[in-house]
Amino acid sequence: MLFSLKQIPIPEIVRYALGTALPSPIPQEFLSLAQNAAQEVLSCCQPKYHLVRYPVQPLLDSFLTGEDIRRHLSGCSDCVLLCATLGSEVDALIRRTQVTDMAKTLWLDAAASAAIEQVCDEVQLDIAQRLERSLTTRFSCGYGDLPLSAQPHFLSCLDAGRKIGLHLSPSGMLVPIKSVTAVIGILPEGAAASHSDSCSICNLRENCQLRRKGVFCGKDYQ
């Protein structure tokens, strides 16, 4: 399904581009570079998404393996599998810009990363409203002990190639690059969403440059 993305959060773009904690206040120079990149990404991306609702248990019994996903979905009887992509045009824009201007590329890449997250956030908000239920955060292959080898199952359950043109390369990478697949738990009625400290399950926590500086790489929900 085509998705109309209206804006990309500018501070998120700056955060991705700098790869560190946001300076406060954010220098005007960075804000305007981020704004220009956002404009360019918005005018060229073709965001699409597709989702399917599944009961949790059969998925846990098949490809959603590991303790972390089990904990993440605990208490949920149903979940939503989601895939989303900005389309191949953004990949092409980034490839083209790399030839002549690497600094600009970095901003475009950051804007595209922020954009695909924004698409997912908005879709997720829409699901929550339609279902009138709270949802867990998105959980993707490679998080915690959910292996990347689950990715082909995600794509085939979602028929992602046919629905939104999202494929997997032989080495297990999503193409187009600016794409996401995730599972979202539908919490029982009345339950509120909680945002746990994702560093605790992250495989990179021991060597993470950001964590040493006290920075969390995910979106700050507080």
Binding site: M102, L106, S171
Partner: protein, 819 residues
């Protein structure tokens, strides 16, 4: 047999009914979720044949064998070969067809491979071709009556499929009809951005027999797209729509069989006579369509007029007004480009393409002909590289037919071949290639006796080639005649003959014209004036495709003015739009363009610092370029590099390490320094004897690669920019690089340091294999590695010499290893 089928299909007085969905029918009859539908051909042949039979009984005259995903990628690990599965599938379909009274035909059904092709994905064009060829060999051998490529979203994959179908059939001594359908979104594009006019130009050019849409959308939403397709192809069109749109909650399709048939009735007035169904349809839908068609006859529709065009999937360029062909990717007379080609400095070559497109070129000429370069290998390589960053159509320029064919084969879209001439040998070599690959062609008005002096003689050559091309089946809309510019300083009398010939060719042969303009002024002063004046004269004589340098503003101005004065730019819209742009306002009022960055261009007056150092720290590329150019008049390049550029970068690097500046700022500074290095490279290219340090690979070269299977190369490219600006020449092998390619590059250039990047845990394996391959050859080179999920420990474990946590550290490593 094939003759009969071809005649039947071409008989425009009858309708053809295809079948409907297969996958959902199989699921209804017990195919477990997740199992590949094609495997049912072997395990449950009676069910598959049963579904075919239901479709035939409902009215289908052509059924698709259950082979949609029967390719080696999708079948891998299932325990059955492509040949086994396809043979069984065709047999099952034939069993139903042969038992029917109507003698239904069986199509070999080929769907997308399921992996994205380069440049978005990693599957190569050549491998895609092989995969299709294997399926087609199996299907044709098993007795399929025709071949269908369907549900395609990538025109490049379609091209691989059509070539595989045509060439495989030829090899087997057969000629099966070929139907091709693609899948579009409501925005009129496929997932990969392909437009309907590009689809039509390429598929018709490559010689498919039918063109159409399947899947995509419901019949209501597809109708406007079908109208567009019918208006841009002379091939018969077929439609296999979905049963409406799926409900986002239930994924069930929205319309009934009766409604579907009613909607399809609207397609009859477009002259469409081949129908079927896709997702959500079943035999009832076919039955309702058969009822709807009964007693009706196909509407005879006028074949749309052919138009001259070239394209890529996403950029369709009709030659309906003056279109500029950029001339700069041609090494003749360009020292810096020659050097770039020899060193395989693709970034330089690509940047030449990008700047021409930004200046207004609609098409780019690409020529790799120079001593020491194997054009057969280089031309397609550069075409692939250009097409990975630009969607502008290309003109493949070579006098070597093998190079032309190699480039034609892998070109994504419909290109121009430059060129054929009136010599028998040239026509025999080039015209069949132009026909086979559905290209347009530049036709030079010369032959065995050289360039004729008189207009009438050049016209005669043009006419001869046009007639011959038509015999090969190349329509005159695909022929662009070049009446040849002669140099005014040597052949002043003949200048006007070129213009006269062009007028004649245009009026009498009705073809488009092309002309390399800049040659006119060779050997005379103020070349720009002559080029500009001759361009205007040529446009007036009917020139459609000037081959020029679009980065010279006066040339573009001439075209803009011409289009206004000749009423080709309605309401002067393009003219006004162009001259309302700030940079154009600045140019015509001769004021300098305002700097895009708010900081003053040269801040040295305020700070008292060296202007070059300041320029690098502030990331001001233009300022640095100017300073370096000025310094080169009095200092040696080496001195500038060692005493100015590198120390400035060191300061920037320290500030980055100290957290005073951020990554984007460090890159900006590196790019500013790069502008300075580029100035020095230009200087060296033009002063080859100067006693200066070599910036070639031999001494301090570094090979960089993003490992096999990995397409995330931003990190590697950042490292490259930074390394280059510390004076290390980088041979960038790109992304998804096989280990062996790294080994060969290291051997060939005696490289002492290799940098490898990988983003994901899945591709760290490739990194390990690449290092092992280097070690196995006992090469005297160090390896540094980097990437998001990599750690120092892991880097050591897989045998790397160094772990670089960021771009700055890679420079420190390079200094340590290479000095």
């Amino acid at each position: 047999m094939e003759k009969i089928i071809n005649d039947l299909l071409e008989d425009s007085s009858r309708f053809w009914l295809l079948d409907g969905a297969m996958g959902t029918q199989l699921q209804k009859k017990g195919l477990p979720f997740g199992l590949q539908p094609e495997l049912f051909n072997l395990s449950h042949p009676e069910i598959v044949t049963g579904i075919h039979r239901e479709y035939i009984e409902a009215g289908s005259n052509i059924i698709y064998a259950n082979t949609f995903g029967a390719n080696r990628k999708k079948l891998s690990g299932c325990g059955h070969s492509v040949q086994e599965v396809i043979t069984a599938a065709v047999k099952n379909a034939k069993a139903a067809a042969n038992a029917s009274a109507t003698q239904a035909l069986v199509a070999l059904d080929i769907g997308p491979i399921g992996e994205l092709l380069e440049p978005t994905g990693t599957l190569s064009f050549e491998e895609a071709y092989d995969i299709f060829a294997e399926e087609i060999t199996a299907g044709v051998t098993a007795g399929a009556d025709l071949i269908v490529l369907e549900t395609m979203t990538d025109l490049y994959e379609v091209k691989a499929g059509i070539l595989a179908a045509k060439e495989t059939c030829e090899k087997l001594g057969r000629s099966l009809p070929l139907m091709v359908s693609m899948t579009f979104e409501a925005n009129g594009r496929t997932f990969t951005g392909c437009s309907v006019p590009s689809m039509a130009a390429v598929i018709e050019g490559l010689g498919a027999d039918f063109i159409g849409f399947n899947c995509s959308l419901g019949p209501v939403e597809l109708l406007p797209l079908a109208k567009e397709l019918v208006s841009c192809t002379s091939l018969p069109v077929f439609i296999k729509a979905n049963a409406g749109l799926p409900d986002p909650q239930t994924n069930l399709y929205s319309i009934s069989a009766e409604e579907f048939a009613r909607c399809m009735e609207e397609y009859l007035s477009l002259g469409i006579r081949v129908f079927g169904g896709c997702c959500g349809t079943d035999p009832e839908f076919i039955c309702e369509m058969a009822k709807m068609l009964s007693g009706k006859h196909p509407v005879k529709s006028a074949v749309p007029a052919r138009r001259s065009c070239v394209c890529t999937p996403t950029d369709f360029v009709p030659v309906d007004r003056v279109r500029i062909i950029g001339e700069r990717i041609n090494p003749t007379g360009k020292k810096r480009l020659k050097q770039a080609i020899l060193e395989q400095d693709f970034d330089y070559i690509l940047s030449q393409g990008i700047s021409q497109v930004e200046a207004g070129a609609s098409i780019l000429d690409v020529n790799m002909g120079m001593p020491g370069i194997d054009e057969v290998q280089m031309l397609p390589l550069v075409v692939k590289k250009l097409q990975s960053v630009l969607d502008t159509p290309l003109q493949l320029d070579s006098s070597n037919p093998q190079a032309v064919e190699a480039a034609l084969r892998i070109y994504n879209g419909k290109p121009i071949v430059n060129s054929v001439n009136g010599e028998e040998k040239s026509m025999q070599a080039i015209l069949p290639l132009v026909k086979k690959y559905g290209a347009a062609v530049v036709t030079l008005t010369l032959d065995e006796s050289g360039i004729p002096l008189l207009a009438e003689q050049r016209f005669a050559v043009a006419e001869k080639i046009v007639r011959r091309a038509e015999q090969y089946g190349i329509p005159k809309e695909d022929i662009f005649v070049d009446c040849l510019t002669l140099t005014a300083s040597a052949q002043q009398k003949e200048v006007v003959e070129t213009l006269k010939a062009m007028k004649m060719v245009k009026e009498k042969l009705g073809v488009k014209t092309v002309l390399g303009v800049s040659n006119i002024s060779f050997g005379l002063p103020n070349r720009e004036l002559l080029n500009h004046s001759f361009l205007l004269m040529a446009l007036q004589a009917g020139l459609d495709l000037p081959i020029i340098n679009p980065n010279i503003p006066s040339m573009l101005d001439a075209i803009r003015a011409f289009e206004v004065l000749y009423n080709l730019d309605e309401h002067s819209a393009r003219y006004i739009e162009n001259f309302s742009r700030p940079e154009e306002i600045a140019r015509i009022s001769a004021k300098p363009v305002a700097a895009p960055i708010s900081a003053p261009e040269s801040a040295s007056a305020e700070t008292g610092h060296d202007p070059l150092t300041d320029g690098i720290k502030k990331g001001l590329a233009e300022s640095v370029r100017r300073e370096v150019a000025a310094l080169l008049t009095s200092q040696e390049p080496e001195e500038i590099i060692n005493s100015k550029l590198i120390p400035a970068l060191d300061v920037v690097g320290q500030e980055f390490e100290q957290g005073k500046i951020f990554l984007p700022q460090m890159i900006q500074s590196a790019q500013a320094a790069q502008a300075g290095f580029e100035e020095i490279k230009n200087f060296l290219a033009n002063h080859p004897k100067a006693d200066t340090p070599s910036l070639s690979l031999a001494q301090k070269g570094i090979v960089l690669a993003t490992v096999h299977g990995d397409v995330h190369d931003i990190g590697k490219n950042i490292v490259k920019v930074i390394l280059e600006n510390y004076g290390f020449p980088v041979l960038d092998l790109g992304r998804d690089v096989p280990a062996q390619k790294v080994v060969s590059a290291v051997k060939e250039h005696s490289i002492k340091l290799v940098g490898l990047s990988a983003l994901m845990t899945t591709t760290l394996k490739s990194m390990e294999e690449t290092i092992a391959a280097l070690r196995a050859e006992n090469l005297d080179c160090k390896v540094m590695v980097g990437g998001a999920v990599l750690t120092e420990d892991y880097a050591m474990k897989i045998g790397a010499d160094f772990y670089a946590k960021d771009a700055k550290q890679s420079v420190d490593i390079a200094k340590k290893v290479l000095g």
